[in-house]
């Protein structure tokens, strides 16, 4: 029996639950949904579908994306070398591995790895999201009648914005690819030069604002994500280890936040044009 049967769930919760059941339906077909049928599966094939393994998958794919972000951030900072330096770097990225690889071959290998990581990350997130909603009758930390201490005893802002923060980042990535990679939307004017695209875009206040908001969401996501990735992979083995991993997460999250914020803000301020 579910907790929602015992209590009067708010209407919005039941609507959410409905859309969740639909999602669970196709996820279930795709993933062998029903847990608790250990008789039919071996211990290992059940464990492959366990929450522990899904979190490990999220951790590994998340860390791959963080390595990409660090490289991407480094590339963005080339904007300070001027148009020649920035566009030259963009062209070089397409020449890596030539002549062994075709033009842009290395870039396409990276794109495939990244896309696979993103898809596995999102898939695992939705399965785990469903499981935690099921475990708490769809209410998570808000499943108690009392309105006191709903934010718990010590949990951080970063930890309880992981899921919706992830959705914000996902939508941003689509917008970002349309803007600067595919050049399908070109606020400030389209251009064949990546440098020119970047400068044209970030001279507009709402473009800068949208990037700042997305980067803050990313910063929070990384703050909890980096720590929990290592902990999920079994690296949190002592009090000192927990402290170190949390500090590492803060430092890397801040580095990525600041590193990505500098170019748009500098362009907006008119120091690069």
């Amino acid at each position: 029996m579910s907790i929602s049967q015992m209590r009067h769930a708010p209407r919005f919760a039941s609507t959410l639950a409905k859309s969740h059941r639909m999602l669970a339906c196709w996820l279930g077909r795709a993933y062998g949904w029903h847990m608790g049928t250990g008789q039919l599966r071996s211990v290992r094939s059940t464990a492959v579908r366990s929450s522990v393994m899904l979190h490990a998958a999220m951790a590994v794919t998340g860390l791959i994306m963080i390595l990409f972000l660090l490289a991407h951030m480094y590339g963005n900072l080339k904007v300070f070398e001027g148009q020649q330096g920035f566009d030259g770097y963009a062209a070089y990225l397409r020449e890596i591995g030539q002549p062994l690889l075709p033009h842009a071959g290395a870039l396409w290998i990276l794109r495939v790895i990244l896309l696979a990581s993103v898809l596995l990350h999102i898939f695992s997130a939705f399965v785990l999201w469903h499981r935690s909603r099921h475990a708490t009758a769809g209410k998570g930390g808000w499943r108690y009648e009392t309105t006191r201490n709903r934010r718990g005893v010590q949990r951080s802002y970063a930890s309880f914005t992981m899921r919706w923060g992830g959705v914000v980042i996902g939508l941003f990535v689509i917008y970002h690819l349309l803007h600067l990679s595919v050049n399908a939307i070109a606020p400030g004017g389209a251009s064949a030069s990546p440098y020119q695209r970047m400068v044209n875009g970030f001279e507009i206040w709402w473009v800068v604002l949208s990037y700042v908001i997305a980067l803050i969401a990313l910063g929070f996501h990384l703050r909890h994500g980096i720590w929990s990735a290592f902990a999920s992979l079994g690296a949190n083995k002592s009090v000192a280890g927990r402290r170190f991993l949390n500090q590492l997460a803060t430092i890397v999250a801040l580095l990525i936040l600041v590193g990505f914020l500098v170019p748009p803000l500098v362009i907006f301020a008119g120091w690069v044009s």
């Binding site: 029996m1 579910s2 907790i3 015992m6 209590r7 847990m35 608790g36 049928t37 250990g38 211990v43 290992r44 059940t46 464990a47 492959v48 579908r49 366990s50 929450s51 522990v52 899904l54 979190h55 490990a56 785990l128 499981r131 935690s132 909603r133 099921h134 475990a135 708490t136 009758a137 998570g140 930390g141 499943r143 108690y144 009648e145 009392t146 309105t147 006191r148 201490n149 709903r150 718990g152 005893v153 010590q154 949990r155 951080s156 930890s159 309880f160 992981m162 909890h224 720590w227 929990s228 902990a231 999920s232 992979l233 079994g234 690296a235 949190n236 083995k237 002592s238 009090v239 927990r242």
Partner: protein
């Protein structure tokens, strides 16, 4: 002290429940939270109402029977404290205190504040044992245990199995409990034989009971009345990840 308690009343598994307010007067600050509920139940019985059902046993913080989410916090506002060891002096005269049962899909409410926690027993049954020769007891010092491992096993073994970690977890995860129960055997020499199979079997049972996954938030360890450290989960994760590529032991 005069206080008001708002308590979750539910007649049985199938019935709908609701919060009901009761005034409780003449409470001594030296009473425990459960003694305050005893006073309330005396009042209720005197006027012919049903007393509030709640779990309790040793009332000295070691058995793991008492539960209660008090003002939204499992075992109430004091750290490292079970509900039975929580005293009324931690509240103020005139306070309204909200009292609810543990809430988890895997813990059906039996009546009022009493939930069925057998899901945790089934996790222990799945792997919480070791293989040992029967017969006369072995010499106590026959198997040497490094101090570090003994300490870690003890850190895990102090788990009283109350379920506060699950009640507090925003994901409804039971990984702190499962981690403690797997590790207090898994780090000792006597527990090595089944170490990997134990980790897999207990995690599988945890998921089968309908508990959520762990996102390393740490609410569990913050409300744990015996202070089980969060790294229990990482140790269990490491055992599961290293067990998967192996053939069955």
């Amino acid at each position: 002290m005069n206080i008001t308690v708002r308590i979750w009343r539910q007649h049985d598994r199938a019935a709908a429940g609701r919060m009901v307010s009761y005034g409780v007067d003449g409470i001594s600050p030296d009473m425990s939270f459960l003694e305050m509920l005893d006073v309330l139940n005396d009042q209720l019985t005197a006027v012919g109402d049903d007393p509030v059902a709640f779990d309790h046993d040793c009332r000295e913080g070691i058995c793991g029977m008492c539960s209660l989410v008090i003002n939204g916090i499992a075992h109430g506002p004091e750290a490292l404290t079970t509900t039975c060891q929580l005293y009324m002096r931690h509240f103020n005269d005139g306070d309204t205190i909200d009292v609810e049962p543990w809430r988890s899909q895997a813990f059906p409410i039996l009546r009022d504040l009493v939930v069925d926690r057998s899901a945790m027993d089934r996790i222990i049954q799945a792997g919480g044992y070791i293989s040992a020769p029967t017969g006369s007891a072995p010499d106590a010092a026959a198997t040497l245990v490094p101090k570090k491992d003994a300490d870690r096993a003890f850190d895990a073994a102090v788990c009283i199995g109350c379920g506060a970690c699950i009640a507090a977890c925003p994901n409804g995860s039971g990984m702190l409990f499962t981690g403690a129960k797997a590790n207090h055997l898994g780090v000792l020499p006597q527990g090595q034989t089944e170490r990997h199979e134990r980790a897999l079997a207990m995690v599988n049972q945890h998921d089968a009971e309908g508990f959520g996954g762990c996102t390393q938030i740490g609410e569990c360890t913050a409300v744990c009345p015996v202070g089980i450290p969060l790294d229990m989960i990482s140790f269990l994760n490491a055992d599961v990840l290293s067990a998967l590529p192996r053939k069955q032991d």
